[in-house]
């Protein structure tokens, strides 16, 4: 079930499965910690994602064949049934008003839902961080209830304002900075997730839990929300 393949001249990619599975992020994070412990001299960088882990190593210390063999031996010894590590729950306040939720009206019509029903569905789920990427502090959260899942826009927007909360298929996420993107925008948070605060870099970790809660327009404006 595990597979190690070549990625670049000083990197390899480990697959832990071939489909998205809620048990994988935690296992991948645990294995990444094991790798750091065993090969602290040779590992330069780790990039986990839904089902895989990209490992960059130091060519001055090892080479592809040697390192692949070592990683594969460690994988064989690794217990994937380990007790759950403690993960934090991050709470994110979201204003779901149409003036900031650029795609919500259209989505409600398609799904035949009221705004209250939509907010209830989006906020009652505890999401897991499956991957971090696209841009720093952009956490891919899953799985969104099938009742509100929606494919990416056919034409991505040139500019999505920072703080926008989006849905793409069964994933949801917050855009930490103004970016281009094709996700359906359903709300906006007042949290500043940009790197203006460098601590935000460690805001989300793979395997962390996230919950959204709804705030009113008054609260949104009072805490510095922008339309």
């Amino acid at each position: 079930m595990h597979k190690i393949i070549l990625a670049g001249e000083s990197s390899l990619l480990i697959y832990f499965g071939n489909k998205i599975d809620p048990s994988l992020p935690r296992n991948i994070a645990n294995f990444a910690n094991q790798l750091k412990k065993h090969f602290s001299e040779s590992i330069v960088n780790l990039t986990p994602s839904y089902t895989s882990l990209l490992v960059n190593y130091d060519l001055n210390k090892t080479n592809y064949q040697q390192f692949k063999t070592q990683v594969s031996e460690l994988l064989e010894q690794f217990s994937f049934e380990q007790a759950e590590q403690i993960s934090k729950v991050i709470h994110i306040p979201v204003y779901y008003g149409f003036e900031v939720a650029l795609d919500l009206e259209k989505l409600l019509a398609e799904k035949e839902l009221t705004i209250d029903e939509f907010i209830h569905i989006h906020t009652s789920q505890t999401y897991q961080v499956y991957a971090i990427g696209f841009s720093p502090v952009f956490a891919f959260l899953g799985q969104v209830d099938e009742k509100i899942q929606a494919p990416r826009l056919a034409t991505p927007r040139i500019k999505i304002p920072a703080g926008s909360v989006g849905i793409a298929d069964r994933q949801t996420a917050v855009y930490p900075i103004d970016s281009s993107g094709g996700w359906n925008i359903v709300g906006r948070t007042i949290l500043d997730l940009s790197l203006n605060d460098p601590k935000n870099l460690d805001k989300f970790k793979i395997g962390d839990k996230v919950r959204f809660y709804s705030i009113s327009r008054d609260e949104f404006m009072r805490y510095g929300g922008r339309e």
């Binding site: 000083s10 071939n18 330069v44 986990p48 895989s52 060519l59 841009s135 460098p198």
Partner: protein
């Protein structure tokens, strides 16, 4: 103490070897687009391989020296002048306080590197001084800005043999490692990919380089997002390649046909839209051998705290 910016140019940013250890947090590698020219600049000055340089793209830049400094310009010939006099690049030069350094238009290549003795001392963000505009980390240089570095005086015995000075006009051959989803592409798809000469499109920046050519017919274009390394080549929905470069996102969900050898990307970094490129297969042991020779010569990664997680 530094330089004052008289004219900032089109795209001039401070870059070093990059942000190498933050994949778990989604931070791009960033760093210089042409590792070869950058490494020579630091080497000729006796600098550390990680020391920050100014990456000048296309030119239209003018700087005033606020101190006596030992500098070196490598990479593209952007018609570099000191006080309106043409000066040789790929060479360390002692400049005086008040000197005006200027880069005009691309004559040979598009990215020039200004290295200074000791490196630029701009603010570090997450262990690197590299600017990444896509991630809103740092900014382009602006008019009247002061870019800080130390005063220096000296003469160095390091020099570059002419055979190491690259010819950016020659045809670019990008050697490709058969990585990622290489084996999922059919023989017919691979033949089309390796047999054609692609053209660099206008969509070519520090994030990625899109190529124009005959599209490869692909059945499925998206997969579960996974970590992408520098130089990996996505085949987008339109069947055309995108080579991922220094400012690219850390993960992505297009199929990748392989990964270009890093030092060939240095050649690519000097090409304008319209230039021709083609791909050739490269074995991993050959890539590791060539890269190790480069790393050892320039001291890349040796005893470096910067490479530690």
């Amino acid at each position: 103490m530094s330089f004052k910016v008289i004219k900032p140019g089109f795209l001039t940013t401070v870059q070093d070897y990059g942000r190498l250890t933050h994949g778990e947090q989604g931070l791009a590698q960033s760093g210089v687009m042409d590792e070869h020219a950058y490494a020579w600049g630091n080497y000729l000055l006796g600098n550390h391989y990680f020391d920050a340089a100014l990456e000048i793209t296309f030119g239209s830049v003018e700087l005033e020296a606020l101190d006596d400094m030992l500098i070196c310009v490598c990479g593209a010939d952007l018609d570099f002048k000191i006080n309106h006099q043409t000066v040789d690049i790929w060479n360390s030069i002692q400049i005086q306080k008040g000197d005006r350094l200027s880069w005009h238009l691309p004559k040979h290549g598009i990215r020039a590197y200004l290295a200074v003795k000791g490196g630029f001392e701009t603010q570090k963000f997450f262990n690197s001084r590299s600017v990444n505009l896509r991630e809103h980390i740092g900014a382009k240089i602006t008019q009247d800005e002061i870019i800080t570095c130390q005063a220096s005086i000296g003469q160095l015995d390091h020099f570059i043999a002419p055979k190491y000075m690259p010819n950016y006009h020659q045809e670019v051959v990008l050697r490709l490692l058969p990585s990622y989803q290489y084996s999922e592409f059919s023989d017919a798809q691979k033949t089309l990919f390796f047999s054609q000469t692609y053209t660099i499109s206008n969509a070519n920046d520090r994030t990625g380089c899109r190529l124009k050519g005959a599209p490869i017919a692909i059945k499925k274009d998206k997969m579960i997002s996974e970590g992408m390394c520098y130089g990996s080549v996505e085949i987008a929905s339109d069947g055309l390649p995108i080579i991922l470069l220094k400012d690219a996102p850390t993960i992505g969900g297009y199929l990748k046909i392989g990964t270009v050898f890093s030092l060939d990307l240095a050649q690519l970094a000097q090409q304008q839209p319209g230039a021709k490129v083609r791909f050739e297969l490269m074995a991993i042991h050959q890539a590791q051998k060539e890269r190790s020779v480069f790393n050892q010569f320039f001291g890349v990664g040796v005893n470096s705290k910067a490479l530690k997680i």
